[in-house]
Symmetry: C2
Subunit: 88 residues, 2 copies
């Protein structure tokens, strides 16, 4: 169809940016409030493992953007996971 | 380095599977318990918007796996977002 490669690339960058930074407010909230009741332990266990796989994948295919984005997400998701384990 | 393309592909599929299904337990927990205090509204607002961008990106580049994985994630993240808006 009629999308320019620039438009497609911009949407890709917006997607990567939004899904990566989205974990910042959740990590901050977890560290500040330590109220973890509604947060699913299973979600963060599976998600953190998944992001570790994306990290390995990005490394193996030599993609620096994937590596960086998933490194940030891995750190943030790990914070939430640890806070959930500690504070239930 | 010495990874086969099969190994790399398998890790990619594991990554996609884990990060997609991880939202299933969070959505179920939200629907069952309706205790959303620890869940960040900002996270799910940003994340759902980001996944919508990934969905558009997958559609534009014609990637069926990206479309399917992000469609599932979009539905699950939207459930969590709506439950957070309704039940605080």
């Amino acid at each position: 169809m009629g999308w320019s490669s620039q438009t497609i690339e911009m949407i890709g960058y917006a997607a990567a940016f939004l899904t990566t930074v989205s974990f910042v407010p959740q990590a901050i909230k977890a560290l500040r409030e330590r109220k973890m009741a509604g947060v699913s332990l299973h979600m963060y266990a599976l998600f953190t493992a998944g992001v570790a796989c994306w990290l390995a994948y990005g490394f193996m295919i030599g993609s620096v953007p994937m590596l960086l984005a998933n490194l940030v997400t891995f750190v943030l998701a790990s914070i939430v996971l640890v806070m959930k384990i500690r504070h239930g």
